[in-house]
């Protein structure tokens, strides 16, 4: 039986290819995102479940939920690409669910659990009707204890890594934005020691994370309203990942 060869792609707006064509989300964006290009290079069908403004806790949950609800080991041959986002981002539980589908209309599979959490990002002070004081409180927490945020994020990485290793599913991780401070404090290092760096592209190199690297190289996307990259950086980053996969036999 021929298995359906899939590349499951998870991450934040960068991974969804947000604003490549100027729109927040579209099939075109996802096809031309670095994950979409990489899937073509690997001859795999892409399933891009990345959502705009997602935090790393949401990304980790979306991957595990996809496997819980969609995965069939008999008919599917799945490889996973996870691009972690900015490590300061957090989630807080919400009683009244949100409707984030509106910003992820072209998502190949939408993880509904993301609607049960506020998305607390550093540049975002709450949407209409949302508790602004709560956002302020968490921003303060992030700024006062950034090391703790990074330790929490290391735990998300370990969580997904061990889950995928348990399922015997090949995966590759990379950073879309700043993830871990370098050099790490000794507390963070106690967790980083448990991460498999052969399956994590440039884990500690923040200046080579997708957004930062191509921003520093001077790439600008005139169509973008919120600073996301255009097609060219996505293609170049897919090439980087493809080379790393080949050199380190990540998917074989």
């Amino acid at each position: 039986m021929n298995k359906d060869k899939i590349l499951l792609i998870a991450g934040c707006s960068h991974t969804s290819g947000s604003e490549i064509d100027g729109s927040e989300d579209s099939k075109y964006n996802r096809r031309h995102s670095f994950g979409g290009v990489l899937a073509t290079q690997l001859n795999r069908r892409s399933i891009n479940i990345a959502q705009v403004a997602m935090s790393n806790s949401g990304i980790a949950r979306s991957v595990m939920n996809w496997f819980k609800r969609q995965y069939n080991h008999i008919s599917m041959d799945v490889a996973v690409l996870i691009a972690w986002t900015e490590s300061t981002r957090m989630e807080n539980i919400r009683i009244q669910p949100a409707y984030y589908q509106s910003s992820a209309m072209s998502c190949d599979w939408f993880d509904n659990t993301s609607n049960d959490y506020y998305r607390i990002n550093m540049g975002f002070f709450g949407g209409p009707g949302e508790d602004k004081e709560m956002f302020k409180f968490f921003h303060e927490y992030m700024a006062r204890f950034p090391e703790l945020a990074e330790i929490t994020n290391a735990n998300y990485v370990i969580q997904v890594q061990n889950y995928l290793k348990l399922l015997n599913v090949p995966y590759l991780m990379c950073n879309a934005m700043h993830m871990f401070s370098n050099p790490p404090c000794r507390h963070l290092k106690q967790y980083l020691d448990f991460i498999d760096t052969d399956r994590y592209y440039k884990m500690m190199d923040n200046s080579n994370s997708f957004y930062t690297k191509y921003k520093n190289l001077g790439y600008t996307n005139e169509k973008a309203k919120y600073w996301h990259h255009g097609e060219e950086p996505h293609r170049a980053y897919a090439d980087e990942l493809y080379k790393f996969i080949g050199d380190n036999h990540v998917f074989s």
Binding site: S13, E24, V52, A53, E86, T88, R89, S103, R119, N121, M122, G123, F124, G127, H139, E140, M142, A143, R144, P146, M177, H178, Y226, W227
Partner: protein, 32 residues
């Protein structure tokens, strides 16, 4: 003593404000 505590608190607050500014710059993304 009061002045020393006040100075320490002020220094902590300045460092926090600086850090907040840096982090906001690091993650400038806004969504609708």
């Amino acid at each position: 003593m009061f002045l020393v505590n006040w100075w320490k608190k002020l220094k902590r607050e300045i460092a926090y404000r600086k850090r907040l500014k840096e982090l906001r710059k690091r993650d400038p993304f806004i969504y609708k």
